[in-house]
């Protein structure tokens, strides 16, 4: 089973192979060759790819690895196979509306118990100085509001849970 990293929404599969002289990186359908990383101080190190070295600053936050290299900062997420594969369709008849971006709640348009149809505006959020309407993706009953007026939230936060109306 390959290791998976998500970089900007693209999943890359790879593995490391130990060799007598360190590690070989194998990127599935991509580059492979010798790699080395020497951590010189906390969060700072030198990456050597196929004999060429460059300075790297990095920080690890859970499964997310933030890397500054060659004047750019990127973040990768290690996709833990046990977690990623565990719940392919684990919503159990529930449907949630998630925040497409971080922001604050401007207005709640529904209350628990409301029957909604796909497309009904559930919440109005403000982000990037603009208002965005969060709509129901399917018909259902509002089961729970996870935010209140004025709350701020991160990307992918659950805003509203709908249950499937019978």
């Amino acid at each position: 089973m390959f290791h998976k990293f998500d970089l900007g929404g693209v999943t890359h599969e790879l593995w490391l192979a130990p060799t007598v002289n360190g590690y070989h990186l194998h990127i599935l359908d991509g580059w492979s060759g010798p790699v080395a990383f020497a951590e010189e101080a906390a969060g700072h190190g030198s990456l050597t790819v196929a004999g060429t070295s460059k300075a790297v600053a990095f920080a690890v936050d859970g499964d997310v690895i933030h890397i500054h290299m060659r004047g750019r900062t990127r973040s990768l997420r290690y996709v833990d196979p046990l977690r990623a594969l565990a719940s392919v369709d684990g919503d159990d008849g529930h449907n949630v509306a998630r925040a497409p971006m971080p922001g604050t709640v401007v207005a709640l348009k529904v209350v628990p118990g409301d029957a909604v149809t796909a497309g009904t505006v559930l919440v109005v959020i403000e982000s990037m100085k603009l208002e965005t309407q969060i709509r129901a993706s399917q018909d259902g009953i509002v089961e729970r509001l996870h935010v209140k007026d004025g709350d701020s939230f991160d990307r992918d936060a659950i805003l509203v849970t709908l249950s499937q109306g019978n």
């Binding site: 089973m1 390959f2 593995w15 007598v20 070989h24 194998h26 196979p81 565990a86 719940s87 392919v88």
Partner: protein, 535 residues
């Protein structure tokens, strides 16, 4: 250790002829293996897709650590049986690396007859578990079998080494502290239900995995009870109610990820301590084996030329080079591990047998695993040799081979006949692994001699009735016998019947032996002790 100086002339006509011939044999082997692994009727593959199941090869690929080898065993089991309709005997078995651990993978191939167990399937599974026991290798079972193939039940159910042996071996493994994980990816019914049940850990895949002693139709017939597969033995029920299942998996990939995580928890048992140094590739190109192995199997060749293309640095410390010259003995290294090699350079005489028995005892004392390279027509026969005790000297060699506590590996490089098979650690002598090369033959005697003997008997019977056979009539009797004999002494027949662990392309031999040897060293090596040597 001295480097072997190869005397092979790679520009000679003979070399080139052999090379063409043996490369063709290797290509044929690859083709047959490829077919056994992948050629399936479209309807079977379509059924797997419909059931949302992965092909067995993809399951194994996902289970293994990427970038690591998989030594598949008995790929061509069953290739001469059941009209060649049960490729691989519907089983995939091999040694691979899962979460850094050497394990035996045993997988039902549901693309072949729904993964039904045929007699040779049972034999292959039992052998896989024997390998696990002998070498203390953890086992990952990927279960997806329709159950035993009932029309042939008499050939796989009742006897000592039949299906019951699978569950006995599983129990013994557990008793030895060698863990097993079963991933239930299809129905495990009746006997098959015990594979996950007797595994220390098991995982059931939601929807497709189920475990029960009797499936819904049999339950209805027996008790009238109507019950669904899920209710009767599905993942949810077994992991939350019965406790027959340990882990609930959302998908096959999830199950394999859990299996990998379980294997990652296994203790690493230190390997048997044998002498080891940094490995070194052979100094001679192993692909030259193609030019060295004679096209005509009756042509003698120097086994040192083979050793030069298997051993680290082509270095070989030959023992008693001037005595018993038809059995070459000596020390070499394989991927850094010291091994003792016994290789045939002709028929076994008393002195060769004595030298071999002595060398085996040396290696056993030394904790040096043994490699037998067979090319043996047998022990020398005749009055003179019997008077010199060829039989008792052969008995010494067989006694030493049988009693050696160090792991033995055997490769049939060309031919293995009669008592020579015994003296050179044939299958019956429990070498940990036994491989063959494509053109090799194995039988009690050579095909020509056997056909001759049989034709002679037939002719004598007829002569007693006053009949006399013309040469064409004799040929008509001899040819079918010869043909049948050749067929049944071929490497393909031997491997079909699981007389070995698989046919190797000669260039793969070094890696296969290294993986096998590494696996063998998982079991501790007992102190040397033997039966009575007839002096």
């Amino acid at each position: 250790m001295q480097r072997i100086v190869s005397l092979t002339d790679t520009r000679a006509q003979e070399f080139r002829t052999n090379d063409v011939h043996n490369r063709r044999l290797a290509a044929e082997l690859r083709e047959r293996q490829q077919a056994a692994r992948f050629a399936r009727p479209e309807r079977d593959l379509e059924r797997l897709r419909r059931q949302n199941k992965m092909f067995v090869r993809d399951r194994i690929q996902a289970l293994l650590d990427p970038g690591t080898p998989f030594l598949e065993l008995s790929t061509l089991a069953g290739n001469k049986a059941y009209d060649n309709e049960v490729p691989g005997a519907a089983q995939v078995v091999g040694i691979g690396i899962v979460s850094g651990r050497e394990v035996i993978v045993h997988a039902d191939d549901a693309s072949v007859k729904g993964g039904a167990w045929y007699p040779l399937s049972v034999k292959k599974i039992v052998r896989a578990l024997d390998v696990a026991i002998e070498n203390r290798l953890p086992v990952v079972h990927l279960c997806d079998s329709a159950g035993g193939f009932l029309p042939l039940q008499a050939e796989f159910f009742a006897d000592r080494y039949y299906a019951g042996r699978i569950f006995r071996n599983q129990s013994i493994l557990s008793k030895m502290g060698v863990p097993q994980v079963a991933v239930v990816m299809g129905h495990c019914t009746a006997g098959g239900a015990y594979v996950p049940a007797l595994s220390d850990y098991n995982i059931i895949v939601r929807g497709t995995g189920a475990i029960f002693l009797a499936g819904p139709p049999l339950v209805k017939a027996a008790t009238g009870e109507e019950v669904s597969v899920e209710e009767l033995g599905g993942a949810d029920m077994h992991t939350s109610v019965s406790g027959t299942g340990d882990y609930f998996a959302s998908s096959e990939m999830h199950a394999l990820a859990i299996a990998r995580d379980i294997v990652a928890r296994f203790n690493r048992i230190p390997k048997a301590a044998v002498d080891h140094v940094a490995p070194e590739p052979p100094a001679y190109d192993p692909s030259e084996l193609y030019g060295i192995i004679p096209k005509d199997p009756r042509v003698q060749f120097d086994m040192r030329e083979i050793v030069a293309r298997l051993a680290d640095g082509s270095r070989f410390h030959e023992y008693q080079p001037r005595y018993g010259e038809t059995l070459v003995c000596g020390f070499a290294r394989l991927h850094g591990y010291q091994i003792g090699i016994l290789a045939n350079n002709g028929v076994l005489f008393s002195d060769s047998a004595l030298k071999g028995a002595h060398f085996i005892q040396l290696c056993d004392k030394n904790r040096t695993p043994l490699l037998f390279l067979q090319n043996i027509t047998g022990f020398m026969v005749g009055r003179e040799y019997e008077r010199r005790g060829i039989t008792k000297d052969g008995a010494k060699l067989i006694m030493a081979v049988s009693g050696a506590a160090v792991p033995k590996l055997t490769v049939n490089c060309n031919g293995s006949y009669g008592a020579g098979t015994y003296g050179m650690s044939g299958r019956a002598f429990d070498p940990r692994f036994m491989f063959t090369w494509p053109q090799s033959q194995i039988s009690v005697m050579g095909a020509e001699q056997a056909a001759g003997v049989l034709t002679d008997i037939k002719a004598k019977q007829l002569a007693r009735n006053g009949e006399r056979l013309s040469e064409p009539q004799l040929a008509a009797i001899r040819e079918p016998i010869l043909e049948d004999y050749r067929e049944r002494s071929s490497a393909y027949y031997a491997t079909s019947e699981l007389w070995d662990d698989g046919i190797l392309d000669p260039v793969d031999t070094r890696n296969a032996l290294a993986i096998a040897l590494s696996a063998a060293l998982n079991a501790p090596i007992e102190a040397p002790h033997y039966g009575v040597f007839r002096m």
